[in-house]
């Protein structure tokens, strides 16, 4: 079964991982801008990072027949630094018409602070002004519930936001319902210990259905499995869900959501093979 990983940080992964993804029938990935493990000293570092996401990674992925898309922003952690964030936002728009950019992301909250909220709102303005899709990072662990609700508040308080153009990611049992009920797309991240296991993600798919639902590996430099979407497919098959149900979550839904961006080309024309 062909699938798309809608959230993975390939910059932090080796070329062997691209090969593993290709062997597992991953046909496209989308890579949001995120925190690299240390705070950057200046905005030029972001400039180079955006070049990396829009030039180097798509070329590296293409060698394995994988389409690479990206999302640009200042991540929620570094958004604590208002002046740095504003410098980056001043030049970010020049990257938006690079061929592989789907939108603004992953923006959100980290420790649910005032500065993070301000920078989130400024990203939201930029996305609206440039008619971009939005990919949302929701906070970790104890901060997730509060932060997700705050993010939903900021999105729902803005009448200009078209909710079908926003993906709320890293959802779990306590945050999935408000995001779906409000009309947003929802992503579940498959991690070994934090976030969702493949089993719990399958439980949530059974409870909430397949509409507007996706799964991703969020593979990065921490404990994560870049081919984790395959583990979800395996779990769903073990539960005897139909191939079309599974395919809806791991392929059709990302295609439907991403197709709202003119940068996206669906990677497969038919079930028989890549277009």
């Amino acid at each position: 079964m062909y699938y798309i990983d809608p959230h993975i940080h390939m910059l932090s992964r080796t070329t062997d991982d691209y090969e593993a993804l290709a062997r597992m029938d991953c046909v496209a990935v989308s890579e949001p801008a995120f925190w690299p493990g240390l705070d950057r000293q200046n905005s030029e570092s972001f400039y180079d990072y955006f070049r990396h996401l829009t030039e180097f990674e798509p070329a590296r992925a293409a060698k394995y027949g994988i389409q690479h898309y990206s999302w640009l922003c200042v991540n929620a952690k570094e958004a604590e630094n208002l002046s740095l964030s504003r410098e980056v936002l001043s030049f970010l728009p020049e990257f938006l018409n690079r061929g592989n950019v789907l939108g603004i992301g992953e923006i959100g909250l980290n420790k649910n602070t005032r500065n993070e909220a301000i920078v989130f709102m400024e990203h939201k303005e930029l996305a609206i002004r440039h008619d971009q899709l939005i990919l949302i990072h929701t906070p970790h662990l104890a901060d997730k519930l509060r932060g997700t609700r705050m993010i939903l508040d900021m999105l729902c308080d803005d009448q200009r936001i078209r909710r079908e153009r926003v993906l709320v990611d890293h959802a779990e049992e306590h945050t999935i319902r408000p995001a779906l009920d409000a009309g947003f797309w929802v992503g579940m991240t498959l991690y070994p210990t934090t976030k969702c296991t493949p089993q719990r993600a399958a439980d949530l798919a059974e409870r909430y259905g397949t509409d507007r639902l996706m799964v991703n590996s969020a593979g990065d430099w921490g404990p994560s499995r870049p081919v984790a979407v395959r583990d979800f497919i395996f779990e769903m098959r073990r539960r005897r869900h139909s191939e079309s149900t599974i395919r809806r979550i791991v392929y059709d839904n990302p295609v439907q959501f991403f197709s709202q961006s003119p940068a996206f080309q669906a990677p497969i024309a038919t079930e028989d093979g890549p277009a």
Partner: protein, 95 residues
């Protein structure tokens, strides 16, 4: 959004999961023993209280145990965060 009917029967789920559930409960039991054996005390630690509260949730028979365990380990939502931050989040639709 219509839920998917789980194609497995309860008996099949139990057949498949019994050993896994048993193993996970044993891991929790052993970790609590380990805590008790260790020197010092965490009796006043909020995390220790959270663990007991989460275990208590498992004794109930509501279908939302996992969601309630998640909430147990979560900071509460603050209704008045906008006022607290003095941020106006409302934006009108463009004309």
């Amino acid at each position: 959004m219509p839920a998917l009917t789980g194609p497995l029967t309860a008996e099949e789920v139990l057949d498949r999961e019994f050993l896994e559930i048993r193993a996970k409960i044993l891991e929790v039991a052993a970790a609590l023993d380990r805590l008790d054996r260790a020197s010092g005390s965490v009796a006043a630690d909020e995390r220790r209280r959270q663990i007991d509260a989460a275990i208590a949730i498992l004794h109930t028979s509501d279908p939302d145990r996992s969601e309630r365990v998640q909430r147990q380990f979560s900071l509460p939502y603050l209704e008045h965060w906008r006022e607290q931050f003095q941020i106006d989040t409302r934006r009108e639709r463009q004309a």
